[in-house]
Symmetry: C2
Subunit: 357 residues, 2 copies
C-alpha cells in the first residue's frame, strides 16, 4: 500500500510543543497497523515566517500543500508580532477556503478520568459532535470603513450565506446524525434577532429535514443553546451551526468536558478534491507557551481523526482508545497536564499515550 | 412627589404570568417607601394583537409610550402564530432602537439558595454584569436575497458598527467598572475571525482604555470567553460586548448561576431622552406557558432595576434583598419554582417575595 503523505505545520506557540507529541503517537499507531505515513514539516503559517518573509505563506504554498493527503496542523497566532486577523486570514482561514474544507467536525466527549466543571456529570453524559460550517457565513472578508477617524466613522461587514454553502454542510450533518444511534440533530439559529441570514438558515434546515425522515430535528436560538449546553449537555447528539456559532459552541462544549486541551477538530473537504486539515480546537496559547505544560491530547486526538479520514478506522479507534486509557488513570496515576489537574508535562503525557499505543 | 408613570406590557406566554407578580412586588415596595407608581397595562406587542390587528403595535404607539417614565415588559414571541423575527423586530427590537436604549444591562449573580450547574461554586463566586450594545452591530436590518429559489441563491446581511454607537456603550461600561470595587472590564471580541468590524471594536476599546486609567482591561475572543464563563466565572466583573455577543453571554451567565428564570435586564437610555425598558432575560417560553410554574424572580428583579433607574436606590436594594431572602430559604422551605428545584408556583413565589417586602 502506498504511504500517505502528511504535511505537518506546527505554527506558533504551543503548536510547536504539541505537534511533535502528535507525530510520535501517529508513527507508533501507523507502525502497529502497518500503515505507511510520510511526514514533511513546514515552518510557514507562523510568526517566524512572518518576521522573516513579511507574509504568512510562501509563494506556491497552494501547489505545495495540494500534493499531500492531509495537513496536520498545530496552532497559529502570536499577536505581539502579527495581529491575529492578519495571521489567521493569512493562513488557517485561507486553507479552509482554498481547500474548500467546508465541514469543521468537532467531537465533544467527557472522558473517563477528566473532571467536568459541571456538577455531577459523568463520562457518557456528554458525547456530541459539532458540525460547523467552515467557509462562509459571518467569516467574510467583505466590508470596510467610511468617514475614517471622524465622529461619523461607520464600519460594515457582510455575512454571506449561499444555498450551496448552507445545504452541503447541513447534508453532512444530517448524514452524521442518521448514522448515530440517537439520530438527533440540533440546529443553532438566531432567527429572532439576525433577521435575514438566520431565517434563511432555518428554511434550509426545514428543507433538509424532509430528506431525512428518521432524524429527529430541533432548533435553539444561540443564546438559549449556550445555556442548554451548561444545563443539559446530555441532550445533544449532532449540533449543526454556522461558522461563528459553530466556533462558539465548539469551545463551550469542550470547556464543559473539562478542558479545551483535549478537543480535536477536523477541517474536512468531504469531496476529497483537496487535502483536509486536522488541528486541535485550542489556539497557540501565548500565556503558557514555552513552559512545556501544554496538553497534547487535542493534537493526538486529531491524529486519530486523520487516520479515520485516510481510511483506517481501526487504527483511529485504537489511538483514541490509548488516549482514553491514559486519561482514565486520572491525575494521580497518569502524567496529566495542569489543565487536567495533574503535574505532567507535554512530553510525559505524549509518551504515556504513545507507549500505550 | 409626582408619581412615576409606568407602561406595563406583559406580551406573550409566561410574560402574562410573571408580570402580575412583578407589579405586585413593585406596588408593595413603592408603598413601603412612599413612592408613587401608576401603572397602565397595554396588550400590544403580543400575538393576540397580531391576530386581531395584523400588526404588533398600534398606530401612535411611539407617542403613547413616550409619555411614560419607564416600560415594564414581560416577554414577546409566539412562533405558532407569528414568526419570531417579525414579532421581535415589530416590538422589542423596535422599542430598543426607537427609544435609543443603547445599553442593555444584565447582572449575573449566583444567589444564596440557588444551585449552580457548575461544580463547587458558591454565592460570591459569580457576580458580574454584562453591558450589551443594544441598537446596532449584528442586529441590522440591512441585507437581502438574490437568485431566490435557485442553486445560486445568496443571502447577505450587514453588521453595522458606528463610532458613536460603539463609544457610547463602551463609555457606559467603563464608567460602571470604574465605580465597582474590582474596577475590571472584559471586552468580548472575535477580531481574529470577524476581521473588519471586530478589529474596529478592539480599537475603540483601546482608545477608551486610555480615558480610564484606573480600570484594568482585558479581552477575550468570544469562543474563549464562553469557555472562561464555565471554567472561571469568578474572574469577571464588567463584561462589555456587541449586540450579538452580549445576547449570548447574558444567557450563558445566568445559566451558570442556576437558571435563566431569575435574570433581569434593563434596556437603558442613559441620556433619558426616551423611556427605558425593563424585561427579564428569559423569553415567552411557549413550552411551559399556561402552567403557572414560570419563575417570576427575573421579572421582579427587573422591578428593582427600574426603581433604581427612577431614582430610588434604597427601594431597589430593599426589593432585591427581599428576593435574596426568599431564595436563600432554598427549595425545601420556600415555594421555589421547578427551575429552582422546588415545587412552588409563579403566584406562590411572587407572593412570598411581596410579603417579604
Ligand atoms: C428575543 C430576542 C430577539 C432577544 C435578543 O436577542 O435581543 C432576546 O434574546 C434578548 O436577549 O433580549
Ligand atoms: C483562530 C480563529 C480564527 C479560529 C476560528 O475562529 O475559526 C479558531 O477559533 C477555531 O475555532 O479554529
Amino acid at each position: 500500500m502506498k504511504a500517505h503523505r502528511i504535511a505537518v505545520i506546527p505554527g506558533d506557540g504551543i503548536g510547536l510543543e504539541v505537534v511533535p507529541a502528535g507525530v510520535d503517537a501517529l508513527r507508533a499507531t501507523a507502525d502497529r497497523f502497518g500503515i505507511g505515513l510520510e511526514f514533511d514539516v513546514f515552518d510557514f503559517a507562523s510568526a517566524v515566517h512572518w518576521q522573516r518573509e513579511g507574509t504568512m505563506l510562501p509563494d506556491g504554498w497552494e501547489e505545495t500543500l495540494r500534493q499531500y493527503d492531509a495537513i496536520y496542523f498545530g496552532a497559529v497566532g502570536w499577536p505581539e508580532i502579527v495581529p491575529d486577523h492578519i495571521s489567521l486570514w493569512g493562513s488557517l482561514l485561507q486553507f479552509r477556503r482554498t481547500f474548500d474544507q467546508y465541514v469543521n467536525l468537532r467531537p465533544c466527549r467527557l472522558m473517563p478520568g477528566v473532571r467536568s466543571p459541571l456538577a455531577g456529570r459523568e463520562p457518557g453524559d456528554i458525547d456530541f459532535v459539532v458540525v460547523r460550517e467552515n467557509t462562509e457565513g459571518e467569516y467574510s472578508s467583505i466590508g470596510g470603513r467610511i468617514f475614517e477617524g471622524t465622529e461619523r466613522e461607520t464600519v460594515l461587514q457582510e455575512t454571506v450565506m449561499t444555498r450551496v454553502g448552507v445545504d452541503r454542510v447541513l447534508r453532512f450533518a444530517f448524514e452524521q446524525a442518521a448514522r448515530r444511534p440517537k439520530q438527533h440533530l440540533t440546529s443553532a439559529t438566531k432567527s429572532n434577532g439576525i433577521s435575514i441570514t438566520m431565517p434563511y438558515w432555518d428554511e434550509r434546515v426545514a428543507a433538509m429535514t424532509e430528506q431525512f425522515p428518521a432524524v429527529r430535528v430541533d432548533k435553539f436560538h444561540i443564546d438559549a443553546l449556550v445555556a442548554q449546553f451548561v444545563l443539559h449537555p446530555d441532550r445533544f447528539d449532532v449540533v449543526v451551526a454556522s461558522n461563528l456559532f459553530g466556533d462558539i459552541l465548539s469551545d463551550l462544549g469542550p470547556a464543559c468536558t473539562g478542558t479545551l486541551g483535549i478537543a480535536p477538530s477536523a477541517n474536512i473537504n468531504p469531496d476529497r478534491t483537496h487535502p483536509s486539515l486536522f488541528e486541535p480546537v485550542h489556539g497557540s496559547a501565548p500565556d503558557i507557551a514555552g513552559r512545556g505544560i501544554a496538553n497534547p491530547v487535542g493534537q493526538i486526538w486529531c491524529g486519530s481523526m486523520m487516520l479515520d479520514h485516510l481510511g483506517h478506522p481501526e487504527a483511529a479507534a485504537h489511538l483514541l482508545g490509548a488516549i482514553e486509557d491514559v486519561l482514565a488513570h486520572g491525575p494521580e496515576e497518569a502524567p496529566l497536564t495542569p489543565d487536567l489537574h495533574g503535574k505532567g508535562t507535554t512530553i510525559e503525557l505524549g509518551e504515556a499515550i504513545t507507549t500505550r499505543v
